[in-house]
Structure formats: structure tokens, C-alpha cells
């Protein structure tokens, strides 16, 4: 379980990394925390000829407050994001989701940027960033461009990032005061990738659900947010019956498949149970 031979380049700035990417083309890969890339190299599932290490670029791991958003450097380690006061105060959904991401030691090395560029379909982070309406700042040979999370995440392990681009920052808008939110997950063991997870944001006004955003992983659908479920809640009375009906829509819209750890019927049961629990918790958290 050893990687094939590769050359190692240490980038000292974003510009440096982008230049190296341009120079080596598709022979190269960026190395961030290495928690997904290195195992894949050791299994020889990928064999980049050049590794461009972006782990030492000054400032790439900073977390700052911008104009109505938290700006997270792509190189910020999972544990740092999770424990950040700024994140916990303004984007509690992200901090909460992070408590389900991997194990302590992996969170010490893995980065938010690496996680979302890797885009494992079971990962919590792309799901909540989509619900939070995050924007992703990419640096390329022609300068920076910003892509909304909605269109950044494509299929399984596919994103809108081009071969010569690098993710530098994630801007996450503040969750508004009074908003209810929740994140629920089932994995076989603590820290494993989720079988199913459910994320919810909503407000409750005059006894009805508003501004509803609901998404799942493990539902077997291409999109993270489920418009049908959101519609089943938006403007409807904030009752158990509404929740039950919406959860049923989620199950109907889902198309999960069997895998070694979980069969499709189980995943549908989880969509239903976790969906309900998340909606109930978000309702309880929302101020009326």
C-alpha cells in the first residue's frame, strides 16, 4: 500500500500554487490535509505525478468576519472550523454538522477546502454549505471567480472547479437571528461517513414554516436540497402533521440504493426518522 512515484512541490503562496498547477497540468494534484488524497494514492486509485503541497501557504487557513458572512480560508483545519467562535455564533449549523465529521485526529489534519473539493457524496460539509448558501472563491490563471455552492457541487466526487484552479475561500452568510436549524445523522460508528444525514433551516412566523431549506445525504438523489420537501413545508402550519407529510414526500422523492452497510429500505426509514427529528428540533429552536 505505497503510492507510485511522484514529485513534491511546496507552494508558498496561492499565486505560486496556481502557477504550479498551470505548469504541470493534469499530471498534478493539490495536497491539502491529505486525509482523502493520500489513502487514494496508497491504494493506487490515483497516481498524480506531481503533488503541490498547499499546507504551508500563509493565511490560507484564516477565519475572518466579512460583510454578513464568515470567510473561511480553504486551508482551515476541520477542528479549527468546528471550534471557531465566529462559526459557532454565526453559522451554528456548520459547527454542529462538523461534530459528525470523521475522528479527532483526522479533523486535526483535514481541511474544509480539501473536503469540499474531494466532494464525497456522503460528506456533511457540502450539504450544509449548500443549505447555508455559501460562495466558493476559486483562484485561477485568469484571477479569482466566485461560484455559489448550489452550482459548485456536481455529481459524486465532481465539482465545478477547473483543473487549473484552486479553492481559496468559502464565504458563509450568517444564519439570521431567530432561525431554527438542525442537523441529524446516522452512521454505523461515530465518525464514519453518514448513511443518511438530514439538515434543516427554517423560520416560524405566525405558526407557519417559512424560508425552509431541507437537504439530505444518502437519499440517492443528485441534488442535496429537496425542493419538493421544502414546498411541502413552506407556508404550512408548523405542526406535526405538516412535518409527517413533508417527510413522506422526502421518502417518495428519494431513490437510495443498497450498499454493504445499509439497504435501501433502511435508508428510507432513516430519511423519515432523521427528517422528522431534524424538523422538530429546528421548529423548537426557531423563535416565534
Amino acid at each position: 500500500m505505497k503510492p507510485s512515484p511522484f514529485e513534491y512541490v511546496r507552494a508558498t503562496s496561492v499565486a505560486d500554487a496556481v502557477k504550479a498547477l498551470a505548469a504541470h497540468g493534469d499530471r498534478a494534484k493539490l495536497l491539502a490535509g491529505g486525509q482523502s488524497l493520500i489513502p487514494m494514492m496508497n491504494f493506487r486509485m490515483v497516481a498524480p505525478e506531481v503533488l503541490i503541497d498547499i499546507g504551508n501557504i500563509p493565511g490560507l487557513d484564516e477565519i475572518t468576519i466579512g460583510d454578513g458572512s464568515v470567510q473561511i480560508g480553504a486551508g482551515a483545519r476541520h477542528n479549527v472550523v468546528m471550534a471557531s467562535d465566529v462559526v459557532r455564533q454565526h453559522c451554528p449549523l456548520l459547527a454542529d454538522a462538523y461534530s459528525h465529521v470523521a475522528h479527532f485526529t483526522i479533523r486535526n489534519r483535514g481541511t474544509i477546502g480539501g473536503n469540499i473539493c474531494h466532494h464525497d457524496p456522503a460528506s456533511e460539509v457540502p450539504l450544509v454549505l449548500t443549505l447555508l448558501g455559501a460562495s466558493l472563491v476559486l483562484a485561477g490563471p485568469k484571477g479569482n471567480r466566485t461560484v455559489p455552492a448550489d452550482t459548485f457541487f456536481l455529481g459524486m466526487m465532481e465539482t465545478a472547479i477547473a483543473e487549473d484552479e484552486m479553492l481559496v475561500r468559502i464565504d458563509v452568510p450568517f444564519q439570521p437571528a431567530g432561525e431554527g436549524w438542525s442537523f441529524h445523522e446516522m452512521s454505523v460508528r461515530k465518525g464514519d461517513y453518514a448513511i443518511v444525514c438530514a439538515a434543516v433551516r427554517l423560520t416560524v412566523k405566525d405558526g407557519a414554516f417559512h424560508d425552509v431549506r431541507v437537504g439530505f445525504n444518502g437519499a440517492g438523489t443528485e441534488t442535496k436540497r429537496m425542493a419538493g420537501v421544502e414546498q411541502a413545508l413552506e407556508g404550512k402550519p408548523a405542526t406535526d402533521a405538516t412535518i409527517a407529510a413533508a417527510v413522506k414526500v422526502a421518502v417518495d422523492l428519494s431513490d437510495p440504493s443498497d450498499d454493504v452497510q445499509a439497504d435501501a429500505a433502511y435508508k428510507r426509514d432513516l430519511l423519515s426518522a432523521l427528517g422528522r427529528r431534524a424538523l422538530e428540533q429546528a421548529r423548537a429552536r426557531a423563535s416565534n
Partner: protein
């Protein structure tokens, strides 16, 4: 078993020299492990720590197919890669190295590199030696193999009927049945005919295995001048079966020296480690340079030769009108994988305690061992008896449920009573001693069963499902190795012992070095040796150090398999100490001018009884080493103060020719009662531990703390087997558990936060001090206890647990079915 037959059976006299119940200083203490400091600072010296000058590194090309004929192999590109020194296919290996050792009878031929055909995913197809493991793996990627796929056998019940191209080893006949045999012990037919109730269940035990932190590894060197191999290896049983490697390598056994490294917590998975050292040695002979081969994790998971039992059972339990269990019948199919290294020894093992702690008087066992396109079975903590424990306890719980009986009271009624030992079970094995009620009573008390029953009822009102499990299981220890051959369809051996040797040397300053003939494999062999020798010679533990012998210098040994090490090493140390004590008394007697029988060991000194006159052991040792000429010219005064002693099995007898009686072969019988308390989330199938009590009776305890460690670790493994772990193969024999992202062991968040351990001590009348084994511990009791706990939690829904592992997905499936009813 009728009374007459029982009366005829005699029990060989006990050879116990140190009786239980003495006033002891070191045995029984919670002494900290003497192994730990060196392990904790990272200086344990494992196989991968061995580095010899000019050493090459091996890598293996593994079969991607479950069953295929090898048409051609082209190694030219691999050989051309700079840094590559040898590439060997199965054909080339076969020219110099023979088949691997096999205990199965008749044997199933297995080679360290496949010859002509691959029989499971992961089987070695070619081996490479190169300057580094990196280059070796690059070379592996350049080997081109053409295969012709053959029909795959991946299901154990289908394997029974396989024919033609689906047969793995056609030279053994046109079928995949490795061995099939039926046994009847006692009056089974009569007992079933007279039964008031017959309880039936179909049960499934999953394929799982031990997961050693260091995979199997060896560094082999071949000296062309002497024609001798030296192999450093993390094997567990080098002392017992290592000579068989020499047979494979086509050299006499004295031309192979095996140097043990730490085998680590291998739990049986390195018991019969042969493929790895023989690959390393074959490449060393080929290249003339030392070669290291250390499996990577994928190789260990897919091709370690040590997957655990994988069984399908159809069982029947007969009860009489008073709800006494009278007879047990098991039809079992066991999926042995592609090879058959131990034969059906795992079932021999299980038959030593097949009736558990209960007075079941007859047994029928119909055993079918099948060959399939999977990694072969080996040893895993319990060696097959953990499975029969599960099966029996499931049947006992099923009987309670069907007859609406209390799980505690029913067990108590059927227990063998304390006064009935030594007790013959129907298979012919003897249980030396026991007090099963005391163990269960202690567990019930420690758990506060009443309190939990109340909490359970209250929780149910809130829609929460709490369950309390109960398992009362045996832990046989100290095998005599009859189990490995008595079930074969061919005549066996005469009485086999499986001895354990020890060398003890007192140096000139009176400090002791103990040399063990078995490696460290995660238990506490050094701590045990230190505590027992300190007791025997009244030395301070700090005056004793422990080393491990290689095969050149070592005596006979077997090692810790079958929870035997503490019992056996105690026997060997008692024997060796007696020799040393005699010599100390002889020398001191001469110097003090006192008769030997007037002397005694007192506080580390040889003293003349009833006086304050004496000599320290250190002073006598100095005399023994350097001042020979001041003693009489009799051989017993010759220089030195040391002893070699090999202890043989304390109690064993031969099986009958027709195998209606297997003889005494696993008589040192421990017992345990496990009581977990769990909560089931019925929507997600997730199980959470609320409490866990485990009470064990391992006879006289040498060290309660290390024993409790065995119990806790074994319980964690039992949780793995019951709820999480499975080597998963699809219908095409593709292996789907090739990493720890797929083979799910419980981690710290998944095991009970605190396994509360209790001890009961019922000494053995046959072993030194009355010690019994305790090494397999929790894994032998946890799976049935958890299955019972889940059923207890879900009693309102009527969920039944017949198959492991009970993963969240499967448990939720069972709940869904129950809710739909």
C-alpha cells in the same frame, strides 16, 4: 450418558504439586505488567522493527479473481524495473519450495504462491523482491497475468452441492466438501423421542476475524555457506509448528532458526502463520539477501489465512416434562474458505464444552465443512467454542421464551451443581471444577437486576426500549491438541500433550532470567512468569527478567493458544524452581553444614529451619557460578544455577476408536456470566450501552487486573462480532471488506464505557495452585448476551435474533418486519 458408562470412566490422578489456598505473596496481586514500559516507549521490537544489512523488501501480486485458472504470467517488465532483484511466479516457487503446512486430514494442498489456479481474491500470484517496498509495489503493477475465470462458490449452502469446474480442489474428489462427519454422544435418539418439548432454531454466525495492529511479517535470511535460514517473524506458535516451515522450505528443521518478535495482540490470527515467512525465505534464498515481507492491511484482511468461523446451524434442543434440558442436536455447515489448514479442529474444540454449564445428557453433531472461494479459516479468540456458546445460549433463551420461563431460574435449574464435579459431559470431556450459581449470583448482584428491571419498565412507558441480556458460558482452557485430530475420518495419534517449556537461570548475583518458549502475543506472559517465579523462589519481581527463546536454543513449547499459557507456564516454573531450590539447598547445606531437609526458603534466603542462620540466594549463586572447587566432587555440585523444565498437559485421555467418546482433552473449565444493559433506538436500529457486568471464574487468579483486561478486551471483540464486524464477500466472491472503512470494528465510542468485572475463584484440582485459563474471556460470552439483550429490549415487538452481526440496518429491518405484523 447413563450412570453405568460414567462409573466405568476413570480420571487419571492429579499431578498438582502446589495446592490451592496457600498463603501467597505474589500470586493474586494486581501487579502492573512488566511488558508495558517497553511497549509504551515504543521499544517492543515488532517484526517491522527488524532491519538487516542489505535487506530487500517483498511485495505480492494478489489475485483479483475469486476462482480462475492462470493461463500465463509475464514478469519481464517487472524484472526490468531498476531496483528489482527477483520476481517469482507460483511455478518458479514450486521448484524450490513445497506446499504449506496443513493439519487437515487428508490435507488440502496450499502454496505460498498460487500454482495454476487462484482460489480466492487476494491469493498471491507472484512475489517480488526489490530495494524498497515502493519499488516492489511498482513492479507488482507491471506483472501481466492472463486468467480464465472459473465458476465461483461463495455461499456455504450452495457449496455443499458444487460440482465440476466449481470444485476448488478436484484432486480430492468432485465436490467442495472438505470433511463431513456425524457424531452421537449418549442416547440422543431416545432423549428426543421422550422429549416433552423440542425447541428448534436456525442460527447464523458471521465470518469475522482478529485484527492485529501489526500485520503478519517476517524478515528472512539465508546463509549460503551453512545452508541455514534465520527467520525473524511475529508468529505465535513457532515453537510448536515452526519445524513445518522447514519441511515447506525443503530443509531439515535444524537448518531453520526462527527468532520470535513481538506478535502483539493477535488473538489467534498469527497462530499458524506460514505463508508470510515462507515467501520471505523463498525470496531470500533466491536473491542471497535478507528479505522483509510485511503484509499491508489489505493483504492481511483478504489473505491472512485466519478468518474466523463462518457457520450455519440448524439446532434442536430437547426438554423433559420438568423443563430439564436432555439433548442437543446441531447440524452445522462451516465455510472454511479455500484451504483447510486446521481441519475441523474448531469443532473438536467446541465439542469440549458443547453442553455448556448444563446437565444436557446427550448430543448429536452433524458437521459439514465446505470449501469456498474465500480466504481460509484460521484461529480467532474462542477457536470455534465461542460459536457453540452463542448457539447454546440462543437455544436456552429460545426455550425460555417458548415455555415462558425465567431466563435465570431456568439456567439455575439446569446448571451442573458445585458438588457434581469433576463432571463428564456426553462427549467424554471432563469439567474439572465449577460453581456456576455463584458466578451468576454475583453478576445479578453487581448489576442490580431489580433496579434495571424497574428502569426498563419506566422507560418503556416513554417509548424507550431497554434490554437486559444474560449469558452463562464456559471457557475451556489448556488444550491437549486431541481436538486437532480426533474428528478426522482417519485414525489419529496416541495421547498428545502439547507441552510448555521454560528455562530459568540465576546469575552470579542471584537475579533470575526466565526464557519463555512462546512469544508475546498481547497477553501478559512476562508478568505471569515473574509473579509465579517470585512466589516459587521468593525473589523480588524486580530481580527477574524475561526473554524469549529462538528455536535453536528453545525447548518444547506450544504457547498461549486455547487459554493455556498461565496454567502451563506455572507448571513449568514450578518444575524448574524445584530443581533450582534443590541446588540452592544442596550448596547452602554444604556451606552451612546442615542437612537439606533442615533448610527452608525464607524472605529470599536459605535458612536453617527454626534458626536465624542462613545464606542469601545471591551468596549461594556466587558460589554456584565461580567456586565449584570448594564443593565435593559429585556431579550435582557442578557449576551453574539453572534449570530447564518442560511441563506436560495436566490431564488428558484418549478418544474411543468409534469416537462416541472423545476422551478428556480440554478439562480445565472456566465459566462466565455476562449481563449487558442496552437501549435500542427502534427508528435507527442503533444500540447504546447503559451498563455491562461480566463475572468470570478462572480458578485461582494470578493477577486480577490483567485478567480483567482480558475480559474487557474480549468483551469489546464480542461487541464487534455481535454488532459490527463481517468479512463480506459478494456472490462473485469479490471481497468487500478490504479496509477499515469497510470492515467495521467497534471503537471506543461503540463499546460499553465501563465493563464492570467481577471474579469468582473455583480452583482446579489438576493445575498448579488451581489456576485456570482466562485468555479468551469476553468474546466467548458477549455475543449471546447481546443477542439476548436486544430480544429483551424488543420483547414488546417480538423481534428474534438468529443471525449476527446485528448491524443497525439489519436490526431496523427486523423491527420493520415486526411492526408490519
Amino acid at each position: 450418558m447413563n450412570v453405568k458408562a460414567k462409573a466405568k470412566k476413570s480420571i487419571p490422578a492429579s499431578r498438582q504439586r502446589e495446592v490451592p489456598g496457600q498463603d501467597l505473596k505474589w500470586i493474586g496481586q494486581n501487579m502492573k505488567r512488566v511488558e508495558d514500559p517497553r511497549l509504551l516507549v515504543g521499544e517492543g521490537e515488532y517484526a517491522d522493527d527488524i532491519a538487516l544489512a542489505n535487506m530487500l523488501h517483498a511485495a505480492v501480486l494478489a489475485s483479483p479473481h475469486a476462482h480462475a485458472r492462470i493461463i500465463s504470467i509475464d514478469v519481464s517488465k517487472a524484472l526490468a524495473l531498476p531496483g528489482v532483484h527477483a520476481v517469482m511466479t507460483g511455478e518458479e516457487v514450486a521448484k524450490v519450495t513445497g506446499p504449506l503446512p496443513c493439519f487437515g486430514s487428508p490435507p488440502v494442498e496450499q502454496r505460498c504462491v498460487a500454482l495454476g489456479k487462484v482460489r480466492h481474491v487476494g491469493e498471491p500470484v507472484a512475489i517480488v523482491a526489490a530495494d524498497s517496498r515502493y519499488i516492489a509495489e511498482d513492479a507488482v503493477g507491471l506483472i501481466e497475468v492472463e486468467y480464465e475465470q472459473l465458476p465461483v462458490v461463495a455461499d456455504l449452502r450452495e457449496a455443499v452441492h458444487a460440482k465440476g469446474a466449481a470444485v476448488l480442489h478436484p484432486e480430492r474428489g468432485d465436490n467442495n466438501i472438505a470433511l463431513q462427519r456425524s457424531f452421537k454422544f449418549g442416547t440422543v435418539d431416545e432423549d428426543f423421542a421422550n422429549a416433552k418439548t423440542i425447541v428448534k432454531r436456525t442460527l447464523r454466525w458471521p465470518r469475522s476475524g482478529a485484527q492485529p495492529l501489526e500485520t503478519c511479517g517476517a524478515v528472512a535470511d539465508f546463509n549460503r555457506g551453512s545452508g541455514k535460514f534465520t527467520v525473524h517473524c511475529n508468529t505465535s506458535m513457532y515453537n510448536y509448528v515452526g519445524w513445518l516451515w522447514a519441511v515447506s522450505l525443503n530443509v531439515p528443521a535444524h537448518k531453520l532458526n526462527i527468532v520470535p518478535t513481538m506478535a502483539g495482540g493477535s488473538f489467534g490470527s498469527k497462530l499458524f502463520l506460514h505463508k508470510v515467512p515462507i515467501i520471505a525465505a523463498t525470496l531470500a534464498r533466491k536473491t542471497g539477501r535478507p528479505v522483509k515481507y510485511l503484509e499491508d492491511r489489505l493483504e492481511n484482511l483478504s489473505s491472512c489465512d485466519h478468518h474466523g468461523s463462518d457457520r450455519y446451524y440448524e439446532c434442536e434442543l430437547a426438554l423433559d416434562a420438568d423443563n430439564n434440558m436432555t439433548a442437543l442436536k446441531c447440524d452445522v455447515i462451516d465455510d472454511y474458505g479455500a484451504y483447510f489448514q486446521f481441519g475441523i479442529g474448531h469443532h473438536g474444540n467446541a465439542l469440549s464444552q458443547i453442553t455448556g454449564p448444563y446437565k444436557i445428557r446427550s448430543v448429536e453433531a452433524n458437521i459439514t465443512a465446505v470449501l469456498t472461494n474465500k480466504c481460509q479459516q484460521g484461529a480467532y479468540r474462542g477457536f470455534g467454542s465461542e460459536v457453540s456458546n452463542f448457539v447454546l445460549e440462543r437455544m436456552v433463551d429460545a426455550a425460555c421464551d417458548e415455555l415462558n420461563l425465567d431466563r435465570l431460574a431456568f439456567r439455575r435449574q439446569n446448571f451442573i451443581k458445585k458438588a457434581e464435579f469433576p463432571y463428564f459431559i456426553p462427549t467424554g470431556n471432563l469439567y474439572d471444577s465449577g460453581d456456576y450459581e455463584a458466578v451468576m449470583d454475583k453478576a445479578v448482584g453487581m448489576l442490580d437486576l431489580e433496579g434495571w428491571r424497574k428502569k426498563q419498565a419506566e422507560a418503556l412507558k416513554e417509548g424507550r426500549y431497554i434490554g437486559i441480556g444474560l449469558a452463562t458460558c464456559q471457557e475451556r482452557s489448556v488444550f491437549s491438541s486431541t481436538e486437532f485430530w480426533s474428528l478426522n475420518n482417519v485414525p489419529g495419534f496416541t495421547l498428545t500433550s502439547s507441552a510448555e517449556g521454560v528455562s530459568v537461570k540465576l546469575d552470579a548475583l542471584g537475579n533470575a532470567v526466565v526464557k519463555l518458549q512462546a512469544p508475546f502475543w498481547g497477553n501478559s506472559p512476562e508478568t505471569m512468569a515473574v509473579q509465579i517465579l517470585a512466589e516459587q523462589l521468593q525473589l523480588a519481581p524486580s530481580a527477574i527478567s524475561v526473554a524469549y527463546a529462538d528455536t535453536d536454543s528453545g525447548l518444547s513449547g506450544t504457547g498461549p493458544g486455547g487459554s493455556r499459557y498461565t496454567v502451563m507456564i506455572a507448571g513449568a516454573l514450578v518444575g524448574a524452581s524445584k530443581i533450582i531450590r534443590n541446588k540452592l539447598f544442596l550448596l547452602a547445606g554444604h556451606l552451612l553444614q546442615a542437612g537439606k531437609d533442615k533448610l527452608e526458603l525464607r524472605d529470599g534466603k536459605v535458612m536453617v529451619k527454626g534458626t536465624e542462620q542462613g545464606m542469601s540466594i545471591a551468596d549461594i549463586a556466587m558460589q554456584a557460578h565461580f567456586f565449584r572447587l570448594s564443593f565435593p566432587d559429585e556431579p550435582e555440585f557442578d557449576t551453574g544455577l539453572d534449570a530447564n523444565y518442560t511441563y506436560d498437559h495436566p490431564l488428558t485421555t484418549l478418544p474411543s476408536d468409534d469416537r462416541t467418546d472423545l476422551g478428556i482433552f480440554y478439562p480445565i473449565m472456566g465459566h462466565m456470566c455476562h449481563m449487558p444493559v442496552i437501549e435500542v433506538d427502534i427508528e435507527t436500529g442503533k444500540i447504546t450501552f447503559l451498563d455491562y457486568v461480566a463475572v468470570h471464574d478462572c480458578g485461582t487468579i494470578v493477577n486480577p487486573m490483567t485478567l480483567a483486561g482480558h475480559v474487557r478486551g474480549g468483551t469489546a471483540q464480542g461487541v464487534g462480532t455481535a454488532l459490527y464486524e463481517q468479512y463480506d464477500y459478494d456472490e462473485q466472491g469479490q471481497f468487500r471488506s478490504g479496509s477499515y472503512a469497510d470492515y467495521l470494528m467497534p471503537k471506543v465510542m461503540e463499546v460499553p464505557p465501563n465493563v464492570r468485572v467481577g471474579h469468582v475463584e473455583t480452583p482446579s484440582p489438576f493445575t498448579e495452585y488451581g489456576i485456570k485459563g482466562g485468555g479468551e474471556g469476553g468474546r466467548m460470552g458477549t455475543p449471546p448476551a447481546l443477542a439476548g439483550a436486544i430480544e429483551d429490549a424488543l420483547r414488546p415487538l417480538g423481534v428474534r435474533i438468529d443471525a449476527l452481526p446485528v448491524t443497525p440496518s439489519k436490526l431496523r429491518g427486523l423491527i420493520r418486519q415486526a411492526q408490519a405484523k
